[in-house]
Every structure is written in C-alpha cells, then in structure tokens.
Amino acid sequence: MLLAYTSSELTSIFTMQGFAGLSLFSVLLLMALGLAIIFGQMGVINMAHGEFMAAGAYTVYLCSTLTTRFAPSFQSYYFLIAIVTAFVVAASLGLLVEWGLIRFLYKRPLDTLLATWGLSLIMQQAFRSTFGAREVTPTLPDWLMGSFKPTESIDIPINGVFVMGLTLFITALVLFFTFKTRAGLRMRATVQNRVMSSAVGINTKLVDRLTFAIGCGIAGVAGAAFTTIGSTGPDSGSRYIVDTFLVVVFGGTASLLGTMASAFGIAQTQSISEFFLQGTMGKVATLLAIVIILMIRPQGLFASKVRRA
C-alpha cells in the first residue's frame, strides 16, 4: 500500500499523520501521567480516570458558556483560566473520591478496579443527565484557530501546537514536582517503603490523598486539552481509558520516562497506521502489537530494577 504513493506524498502523509499523532500523544500522555502517578505509585488502578478527564473537558465547556454569556470581551483569554479551573475541579473531585471510596480499598487492587468502574458509570450518567447525551464543544478563542502551511501539502493546526506546548509544560511541572520538591520527595519515599516513611514521620495517608488528587487534576487538564481537538461527550473519557492503561503498562510502571516513550510510540503507530489501514483496523493493529510485545516483555519498556513484593 505504500507503493501507491510518491515519495513526496509519503513525506507529507507522514508529517501530517505524525502531527495528528502528536496531538493524540499529548492527550494520551496527560491522561497517562495522571494514571501512572496513581497506579504506578499507589498500586491503585483508577478505571474512572477517563471520567475525570471528561470532568475537565466539561469544566472548560462551562467556563466557555459562562464567558460567552457574561463577559464576551474576555473571550480570548478565558481558556487559560479554564485550564486551571479544570485542574482544580478534577482534583477536588479526586480528593472527594479518595476520601469517600478509595481509601477503604488500598489493600485490594482488584476490588479498586471494580469499584472505580462503578464510579465511572455513575459519573458518565451524571454527565449525561447534566449536559445531555449530545457532544458539546466550547467556543475556542480565535488565536487557537487556523493552521500554518510550511509547504503546499502540509497543514499544521495551531490548536495541536498549543496542546503539545501545554503537555510539555505539565510534564515538566510533574517532573519538577516529583523530583525537586519536598512533597514529591515524600511521595517517592512512600512509594519505595510505606512503613519506613511512616516511621520517619511522613503522613502517608495524606500523601496518598494528595497523589490521587494531583493525578485526577492532571486528567482534568488532559480534558481541557482534549476540548481543543475534539468534542466532549459523556463517554469521551472511556474511549481513551484502555489506551491510557496500555500506555502506563507498556511504559513500565514507576517510570515517567517510560510513560512518555510509550505514549509517543502508541500515538504515532496508531495515527500513521490509521491512514493506511481502513477504519478502526489501525487501532486494532496497534493494540494487538502492544499486547504481543507485553506478552514477550511483560515488565514494559522501562522496568525499574527494584524487586517488589
């Protein structure tokens, strides 16, 4: 199928599909960062993670609607505030969920999985009851619209560039938080040895709660980013959740670098194969490849050398 195109056409296809892949990479990475923090570091898998993303996306939609109605002149700037609001809303929701549900389940990872699946059903229906089953799109500020054309056949959308920039910024922030702050240090200590951390005076329960909230907050930012490249429906989150799990597992848990590498690989493979294979088969091929690689190398791309109990 590659033979049907000329080499310059192929370059354009790869550039544009590659760029579309970068947008997917951004959303997947933001989702996976949150999930990896929660899953890799606390052993709790959050099936409702996609719904936290949707919560972020709906927050942006709400902000957009409110701005259009009450402060139309503010239209070009609201988006930056909406991103922060999305983080705060999703993180507070996460805090609430941790307090009300997750903290009873830390020793039972498989049960957490089922309980958070139940939570995701409830949240989806709540979105559907509140915002309707139809997909919604916030009004994007003008500076996010349009695209530049470096050559005749290549077309790069600005919103994609923005999402990528946002992703890089958040990733840098997460890395900084994890490795350069006291709170990050406490988090890493709790991951490595919970009992010992507790013995030296770290409030591990508080750390758990904050970690969960931050993970959910990042999912909220992912939702905000998502609104610039797609429309939001009640089940938007669940469409990405399996991909996100695979990104985390494929990257190797407890390795943020691995998460980034695998998000990049998965998004690019999917995006480029979707062009050449029809319909959903690109996704099938990608997922199948990941599962086969995981069967051969179950520890993922970047495994930590530490043996875990």
């Binding site: 990872p109 089922l114 059903l121 409830i122 009851s129 399996v242 959903t280 995981l294």
Partner: protein, 380 residues
C-alpha cells in the same frame, strides 16, 4: 453420602442448594413465565456460564480477567458461523449476486467464502471449535502471562485490551465477520427451526442442563487437590511456589477451563437469541459479567447463577421503567458490592441466612424432636 456426591455437591447443604436452584430453574420459572420471559432468562443463564468461569478464575484462583466476553464471543461466533452457513444455502440466497454465501458478505462485494469459514459447514467441526478455540486462545495468553508471573492488575488490563481488540476487529472487518450488526438472521440447527417457542423451551432446558453440568464440573475441580492449591495460591502465591508447585500451570488450566465454559455459554446464547454481535464481546459486557459473579459471591458457583439472574432482571426492569437511573444503579451496585459485600449474596447467606435457618430448625426441633438432623456443612 458417598465420596462422589460429596465432591460434586460439597456437603448436604450444597446438595440442598443445588436442588433448590434446579427446582427454581426447571419447575418454578418455566411454570410461571411465558416463553418470551423464559427466553430472556435463558439468555441470562448463558451469561451465568461466564460468571461460573469467573468464580473459578477470580474467586478461587485470584486471577481477575476483564476479557471473559472474548471467550463468550468466540464460542458464540463459532456457533453463529455454522448456523449462518446453514441459513445461507444457495436456494434461499439465490437473489444474491453470489448465492450460497452469507448475506453480509454479498453486501460487501465478497464473492467466495473466506477460507476460515469453510470448515464451519460441518457441525462436528463447529462444536469442536466452540470448545477448542477459546481454550487455545486462553492457553496462549495464559502461558505468555502466567509463566512470566504476570498477574493481578496487569493481567486484568491486558485481558481488557483483548476484549477491545476483538470487538474492534470484528467491527472493522464487516465483510467477513458481519461487522457491527454481527451475524443475524439465524434460522435452523441441522434442519431444526430454532425460532419456534417449542424450540426455545427445549433450548432453555438444554442451557439449564449444560449450566448444571459446568457447575458440577467446576465443583469437581475445586474439590480436588487442585482446588486446594488454587485456594492456597490466591492467598499466598509465593508459599505455594516455594512448596514446589508450578503455580502458572494451575492458573493456565483454570483460565482455559473458564474460557471453555464461557464459550459454551456463548454458543447457547446464539442458539437462544438468534444472533451475535461485537457488542457482546467488548469491554462493557466483559466487566459486567464480573459484577454478576461479584454480586452472587465470587467464591460461590451457585451464587454466580443467582447474581447473574438478579442483576439482569434488575437491568431489564430498571431500563424499561427508569432508563436514566439504570447506570446510577449499576454503578452503585459495583461500589456497594465491592466495598461492603466482598462475598456477595453467598456471603450474606453464610453470615446471616445460615444462622437464621439453623435457629428456625432448632425452634422446629424443640416442638417436634427428631434425632438425626446433622449440623449444616461448610460449602455452599
């Protein structure tokens, strides 16, 4: 009781439990329901096969698979392919541009039967495939995962991805699989019309019989030495390994067995409902089947049947009257069962029901003393 019945039913209480369930399924439900409702129950019972498999896999071996719908679907598709080929003989499909192939292939401009469909013209092969295809897939997956000591959450995520892959794959290859609509318009099994009420009654009873067969088989496996190893494994896997057992082989075996049982369920589903589609294979049905088992009690084989019937009746009741509330109810059920009732209905029976029955029996005995009532046993 002799050893065989003891191993098949557990204690006397287990025997009574089996008899009660059999009485409900064979006498009460067919006696009180019209064929439409009974056919629905029959459909739910085919999910109970999967739930029974999950009780073995999750409740007893401690391995949670979120992709059991895959095996249900494989069994179902094997059966549906056979039935579809029987329904598309050259005479009844003569208006097609290529007579003798399934209608959806004709719509997709396919002119000859794909190679993997050809053996499904034979009923013995289809039956063989229903049992073997799920087992082979489970064996490959199980070997790859369990031999490398992948378990727990990883295994759950990978099986879930498998469910997504299979449902998308079927969906995306409309020409050879029937796509999103699935394989529909199935009519006869070896010349016997499966759409009449008479046939539906027979198929219902066949499902009940097969379900009991699977439950007894599972009970047999769980009451063997292997069952004890599985139980030990789900508690402290390392100790079992250090005692010299190859843990992975036991897991692979139980995974294959659960897959085969699910496949049988899928085949019975197709016979009773008359179609199969990727919506029965994907993530959502697969995880719903886990909740059926959880509601019944993840360690209880009979509980799995009750759990499946209750959740599904609740689902059809709710979604008919309050479609909005159904997802709330289902989500709440997930959370409630997991957090508050980790052993499901069977746990309720063990904690409260059994004591209540014993007290009632005691009161009865005080009024009419009988000498030979034994205490209730341990296994439900």
């Amino acid at each position: 009781m002799n050893t065989v019945t003891k191993r098949l039913f557990g204690s006397r209480e287990g025997l009574v439990g089996n008899l009660i369930l059999a009485f409900i399924l064979i006498v009460v439900l067919p006696g009180t329901m019209d064929i439409f409702r009974l056919n629905l129950v029959g459909k739910y019972l085919t999910y109970a096969f999967v739930a029974v498999g999950l009780v073995m896999l999750w409740g007893n071996a401690g391995v949670l698979s979120l992709g059991q719908g895959v095996f249900f679907g494989l069994g179902g598709y094997c059966m549906a392919m056979f039935l579809k080929l029987e329904a598309s003989d050259p005479i009844s499909t003569k208006i097609q541009s290529t007579p003798g192939i399934p209608d959806f292939m004709d719509w997709n401009q396919i002119t000859s039967l794909p190679a993997f469909w050809v053996p499904f013209k034979s009923f013995p092969f289809a039956t063989f495939a229903i049992l073997v295809v799920p087992a082979v897939l489970a064996y490959i997956l199980g070997t790859a995962m369990f031999k490398r000591r992948v378990g727990g959450v990883y295994f759950a995520v990978i099986t879930q991805a498998l469910a997504l892959i299979l449902s998308l794959g079927i969906d995306g290859n409309q020409g050879v699989t029937g796509g999103r609509n699935g394989i529909t318009d199935l009519r006869t099994l070896l010349g016997w019309d499966i759409r009449t009420s008479h046939a539906q009654y027979i198929l219902y009873f066949a499902s009940v019989a097969l379900l009991f067969g699977c439950i007894l088989l599972s009970r047999w496996v769980l009451s063997s030495k292997m069952g004890r190893i599985l139980n030990a494994m789900s508690e402290k896997e390392d100790r079992v390994r250090f005692s010299g057992y190859d843990v992975s082989n036991f897991k692979i075996f139980i995974f294959c067995l659960a897959a085969v049982i699910s496949g049988i369920g899928g085949a019975m589903f197709v016979l009773q409902v008359g179609f199969i589609s990727p919506s029965l294979v994907g993530i959502v049905p697969s995880i719903e089947m886990v909740i059926f088992a959880a509601v019944g009690g993840k360690k209880s084989l009979l509980g799995a049947v009750y759990g499946t019937l209750l959740v599904n009746s609740g689902k059809s009741l709710f979604s008919e009257t309050f479609p909005q509330l159904w997802l709330f109810a289902m989500g709440g059920l997930f959370i409630l069962v997991v957090v508050l009732m980790p052993n499901g209905l069977a746990g309720l029976w063990q904690n409260y029901g059994r004591g209540w029955v014993a007290a009632a029996k005691k009161r009865l005995m005080e009024r009419h003393p009988v000498s030979d009532v034994k205490p209730a046993g341990q296994i439900f």
